[in-house]
């Protein structure tokens, strides 16, 4: 796989992962072109298209488009299921994931992706193993926090965030 892009129906890029070296300028150009191309397609159309010398495999989940660019000899259907497995992983981790989870916890979305795909190849397909790796990291963090310097969350800021989150989720 050469790259993976997540973008919203409005064309906002939510996550980008590049497995080939490209300049920022090229990345932006590719993103712009592909987002336009994919958003212009009708719902019933097939999930694959030829684009430059690559094959694009995309699928829409709710408001988010997941879009992968693979090479000529790569398998389209299995790529479609890579996307689905990634969605399942996010879903399991966040608990019925929505676009907002990915916006507010983009770093987690990257960490999960790194456990699942590395260098553009599938590293681990077992949902359990991937999430175990992530949860271990979370546990490690909590463990360290118990031992480390405790932070003082001010109640005000916390409730501010919660309010915003609630209002966003109900929108």
């Amino acid at each position: 796989m050469q790259f993976m892009l997540l973008f919203s129906r409005q064309g906002k890029l939510r996550l980008q992962k590049w497995y080939v070296p490209l300049s920022d300028k090229e990345k932006k150009k590719i993103t712009r072109e592909l987002v336009q191309t994919v958003l212009a397609r009708k719902p019933k159309m097939c999930s694959f298209l030829e684009w430059r010398d690559l094959k694009i495999v995309y699928k829409r989940y709710a408001s988010l488009y997941f879009c992968c660019a693979i090479e000529d000899q790569d398998n389209e259907l299995i790529t479609l299921e890579i996307i689905h497995r990634y969605v399942e992983l996010l879903d399991k981790y966040f608990g019925s994931v929505c676009e907002l989870d990915i916006i507010f916890n983009f770093e987690k979305a990257y960490f999960i992706l790194d456990e699942f795909l590395l260098g553009g190849e599938v590293q681990e397909t077992s949902k359990k193993n991937v999430l175990k790796a992530i949860e271990q990291a979370d546990l490690l963090q909590e463990f360290q926090e118990v031992l480390g310097v405790p932070r003082n969350p001010s109640p005000d800021s916390l409730s501010h965030v919660m309010n915003i989150l609630m209002s966003q989720c109900t929108k």
């Binding site: 981790y93 983009f106 590293q123 077992s126 790796a133 989150l165």
Partner: protein
């Protein structure tokens, strides 16, 4: 509870993200971001040391800002600091920042590599994985240099955790892809192959990708993986749908691993070991069988995963291309998918069948689905699926279904998406030509193409139809009739006018008998389109008109009227004006005989690769057309559909297609003539011009037998009133020089007058004088027989300028040669004289060619010689004192400025003769320069229009050894070598 609370939430980050989301405008967002950047900057610069958490939070904010599409130019140092934090999430964010925002700041790279090195050595698997992920994400050469040697060790170490092995394998893959030279092969490779046997499915999944990549580069070193892969695959395929626990995906056992294993096997031919092969075939059959079983789940994920394996299996079967039974089963399976309700499956089935169509075993099976595919072309709602259908129709086309497929494609073209029209046009044109049984169908098809999609019909396509019509006399009458009818349409495409104009100009006489298409009718029909056409088309039509004057003398007055009209004679476009002037003069001055010769029908075109096919290849990239034009399953068709092979009566010589149409616009490269007997239309010929490839050109014997080429009438150069027609030296007129041409020319290196050539028929004498960069040469052609030579046409070309087409357009870049015309008849025993004015524009190495053609007793004769114009003719002798000579000699001391030759004397060594030769060569002879009086020293300047080349030479005879040593020094390397070679042959 959602995982927002999991691990660690960074409040400040969440607040910032919310603020950005609440921004009502782009400006507000930028304002908020700038405020945050200023804040972060001040925090990073502040005196107070930041704690790890704050650093992490700010780095994360920077990352978010970057991902929004803004540039970030600071924070890298803080991110690098995070790498050495003990806290996992701080380290993790540090690595994420580095992965996303790495730059090649060398100072930082060193620090980053240091941190990675520490983590790799930490023996903490979680940290090791983070470090490996970072290397894999960045994949830069610097990282490769630092770690490529360590990672194989981690990968095969007995005590590495599974998760570390997985990351190490893919990390190594990324480094290997980026810089294979950095990854040392070694003992570890054998152990990597054995990871295929690993108990942990995740390890196998990661390792297969690495092994596949290594196999592609070193197939022989990894052959052992075949049997391991087959047994692993076999275990998966035969396992029950729940055996593999979490590696089962919607009741499909390990689909990702299966697909990867099947891909790995595609790096190799079928297994040689019968047992392994048997086991593999069994696997493939099982996959095909399972496709027929009822689905275990209605979920699309189930069928996708299952079919992913199925398609990969079919790819492997096609790759092997050796099991007819499996190929046909694969084809039937794909046939079912062609009508599946899932668009994705229809798309993939069409795509996969394209490759099946090129296998001789399954080609027939693919053909049975023609109706479904045609239906797909008509009814699919998605253009990318229709495109696949068009590709498949093209791939499955052969003699038996060509008419049906071509007519369906033509019908589709009327409604086709603009994006793919040109490609469809090319495909139709190729199929129509390749599978034409009768050429009237071919002509109809191409004219239909122009009618339906004229804008998308490229030059290659309509050039090709003209070539084919010109070469097939059985279709010429039909073509004339058809274009005449097509031109009746009130609005017809300009490409139709071009084709119509050309064909009627050549073959309009074939339909002139019918009063409905009498010459005046043909002319007025064409001329009615004239004013609406572009310059290029009008230029072509003017050529048609002059051809009409020859074909139909009754139209002469009308056409001369048109040419004489002010709108032509004083046309602002120089090409049109020139044609009008020249054609008008030609039509009034030349006798009917001359007209008939000049405007004779075009000779057949030489065999060459279809330029259309070349274009399609260019469009689709290499490899795309190989499946399409592969001749092996239809080898027998070549003899018929190589339809343009030259007829036996004429030996055609290559002619650049540009002049075919009399248009100066970008001519396709002239192809060399096909080897005798090769009727293959698709033969890949070199695109170099004939002059560049004397070996492929007609041999002198053939050239003597070949018929006289009619001069290309469309070339206005040929029709200038003053020079003879042959004064236009089209490259097509020139054969290879005769074998003794070099020898003959060498006689003139040191002298200017003499007999250049003589045989039983003809003697050619030369008298020439040169001053500075100018020269005048008189050529005397003596007819030694008692019979008149007819159509006597001497032509001079300079092959150095003709090797490329750009050179052709920019002719005489090195030499300008003006020739005066000679009489076309040379009486028996008479001599005619031709004057050549020569100007040397720049230094040159190859002499001009003189080609002489004439008819002797009706038999065409032709002969090509090298004209004795060598660069030393433009020598201006220079006298200088010994001191100056040595000073200059030293100045030219670069090794490439000197050329030296030591050679045996071929003539008696006589000092006086040598002196005369050196003087004849052009240089001044300097006495008292060389301390050895036996030696000769000379100096001179070669005068060209563009530059002067100073030359110094020294010749040292050794009478005892009967040898010479010749040394030349000039300021231009090729000139030194060339002069040295020319002169060395004289002694």
């Amino acid at each position: 509870m959602p995982a927002v609370s999991k691990g660690d939430g960074m409040r400040g980050l969440a607040v910032f993200i919310s603020d950005i989301r609440n921004c009502k405008s782009k400006e507000a967002e930028i304002k908020r971001i700038n405020k945050e950047l200023a804040n972060i900057r001040s925090k990073f610069k502040g005196d107070k040391a930041l704690d790890g958490y704050s650093k992490k939070k700010y780095v994360c904010k920077l990352l978010f800002i970057f991902l929004l599409g803004h540039d970030i130019d600071f924070g890298h140092m803080e991110a690098v600091n995070l790498l050495s934090s003990n806290k996992y999430t701080e380290k993790q964010i540090g690595y994420l920042f580095i992965s996303v925002l790495v730059n090649s700041n060398s100072e930082l790279i060193r620090l980053i590599n240091n941190a990675i090195k520490n983590d790799l050595a930490s023996r903490n698997p979680t940290f090791m994985c983070l470090a490996l992920h970072c290397i894999a994400n960045v994949g830069s050469r610097e990282m490769g240099e630092a770690f490529a040697a360590d990672i194989p060790r981690i990968l095969v170490a007995g005590d590495s955790m599974d998760s570390v092995k997985q990351s190490a394998a893919l990390c190594l893959l990324r480094l290997y892809k980026a810089s294979p030279d950095l990854v040392p092969m070694g003992e570890w490779t054998a152990r990597v192959v054995h990871l295929l046997n690993d108990q942990h499915m995740g390890v196998v999944t990661a390792a297969v990708s690495l092994i596949t990549c290594l196999c592609k580069k070193n197939p022989d070193d990894f052959k052992t993986c075949i049997s391991l892969a087959v047994s692993r695959l076999s275990r998966i395929v035969s396992s029950a749908s729940t055996d593999l626990q979490d590696y089962t995906y919607y009741f499909v056992p390990a689909p990702w691993l299966s697909v990867k294993l099947l891909r790995l096997l595609q790096c190799y031919p079928p297994p040689e070991d019968a047992a392994v092969k048997g086991r593999l075939v069994e696997c493939l059959e099982t996959v095909l069988n399972k496709a027929q079983e009822p689905p275990k789940s209605k979920k699309v994920q189930h069928s996708n995963a299952k079919n992913a394996i199925l398609f990969e299996t079919i790819s492997l079967i096609i790759h092997y291309d050796s099991e007819p039974n499996l190929l046909v089963r694969a084809c039937n399976q794909l046939g079912q998918f062609l009508q599946h309700r899932e668009t994705n499956l229809r798309y993939l089935a069409l795509e996969s069948m394209c490759t099946l169509a090129s296998s001789e075993f399954s080609h027939e099976a693919v053909k049975t689905h023609i109706d479904t595919v045609i239906n797909a072309l008509k009814t699919e709602r998605d253009v990318s699926v229709r495109q696949r259908a068009a590709d498949l129709l093209y791939a499955m086309c052969d003699r038996s279904n060509a008419k049906q497929i071509v007519s369906e494609m033509l019908r589709y073209l009327e409604t086709a998406d603009y994006a793919i029209r040109e490609e469809i046009v090319l495909k139709v044109a190729i199929l129509a030509e390749k599978y034409a049984v009768d050429y009237s169908w071919y002509v109809d098809t191409i004219l239909n193409l122009i009618r339906i999609a004229g804008d998308y019909v490229s030059e290659e396509v309509w050039y090709r139809v003209l070539q084919i019509v010109t070469n097939r006399d059985d279709v010429q009458g039909y073509a004339a009739k058809t274009v005449f009818e097509a031109l009746q349409a009130p609005a017809c495409h300009e490409n139709m006018v071009k084709v119509g104009g050309y064909i009627l100009g050549e073959f309009g006489n074939l339909i002139a008998g019918d009063p409905r298409s009498s010459p005046p009718v043909q002319f007025s029909l064409l001329h009615s389109k004239f004013h609406l056409c572009s310059v290029a088309t009008r230029a072509l039509l003017l050529s048609t008109y002059i051809k009409f004057i020859n074909l139909f003398p009754e139209t002469k007055a009308t056409i001369q009227g048109v040419l004489r009209a002010g709108s032509q004679l004083r046309n602002a476009d120089v090409e049109l004006q020139q044609r009008a002037v020249e054609y008008l003069t030609l039509s009034s001055v030349a006798s009917t005989d001359v007209l008939a010769t000049v405007l004779e029908e075009m000779p057949p075109f030489p065999e060459r690769e279809s330029s259309i096919l070349a274009k399609l290849k260019r469009k689709k990239g290499p490899g795309a057309a190989s499946a399409l034009d592969d001749g092996r399953r239809d080898a027998s068709s070549n003899d018929i559909n190589g339809g343009v092979e030259p007829t036996p009566s004429t030996v055609s010589t290559p002619s650049p297609s540009a002049d075919l149409l009399g248009l100066r616009a970008a001519p396709p490269p002239a192809a060399a003539p096909a080897p005798a007997g090769a009727g293959n239309l698709l033969v890949d010929v070199s695109s170099e011009g004939p002059a560049a490839q004397p070996g492929l050109g007609p041999t002198p014997e053939e050239a003597f037998l070949s018929e006289l080429e009619p001069p290309a009438p469309e070339s206005p150069m040929a029709l200038l009133a003053d020079p003879a027609p042959a004064a236009d030296p089209g490259s097509e007129d020139i054969g290879s020089p005769i074998p003794e041409a070099d020898e003959l020319m060498n006689k003139f290196v040191c002298k200017n007058n003499g007999v250049l050539f003589e045989n039983q028929l003809l003697q050619i004498g030369v008298k020439s004088e040169f001053r500075q960069n100018l020269g005048r040469m008189y050529l005397f052609y003596g007819n030694k027989t008692s019979v008149q030579f007819q159509s006597f046409t001497p032509t001079v070309v300079h092959p150095g300028d003709l090797q490329t087409l750009s050179g052709f357009l920019d002719r005489w870049a090195q030499l300008a040669v003006q020739t005066k015309r000679v009489a076309a008849q040379v009486d028996g025993g008479a001599q005619v004289q031709q004057v050549l004015n020569i100007e040397c524009l720049r230094d040159f190495l190859t002499p001009p060619l003189l080609s002489v053609r004439f008819r002797y007793g009706g038999a065409p004769q032709s002969l090509t010689l090298k004209l004795p114009v060598t660069i030393n003719k433009f020598f201006q002798p220079t006298e200088m004192a010994a001191q100056d000579f040595f000073q200059r000699w030293k100045q030219l001391s670069l090794p490439q400025q000197e050329a030296q030759k030591i050679f045996k004397a071929t003539h008696p060594m006589d000092a006086e003769v040598t002196k005369a030769k050196l003087l004849g060569f052009g240089s001044a002879l300097l006495d008292n320069v060389d301390p050895n009086p036996e030696n000769f020293v000379g100096a001179g300047i070669i005068q060209t229009k563009a530059l002067q080349v100073g030359c110094l030479l020294r010749l040292e005879p050794n009478a005892q050894a009967q040898m010479y040593r010749l040394t030349l020094r000039t300021s231009k390397e090729p000139v030194s070598r060339h002069l040295c070679e020319l002169l060395a042959q004289q002694f």
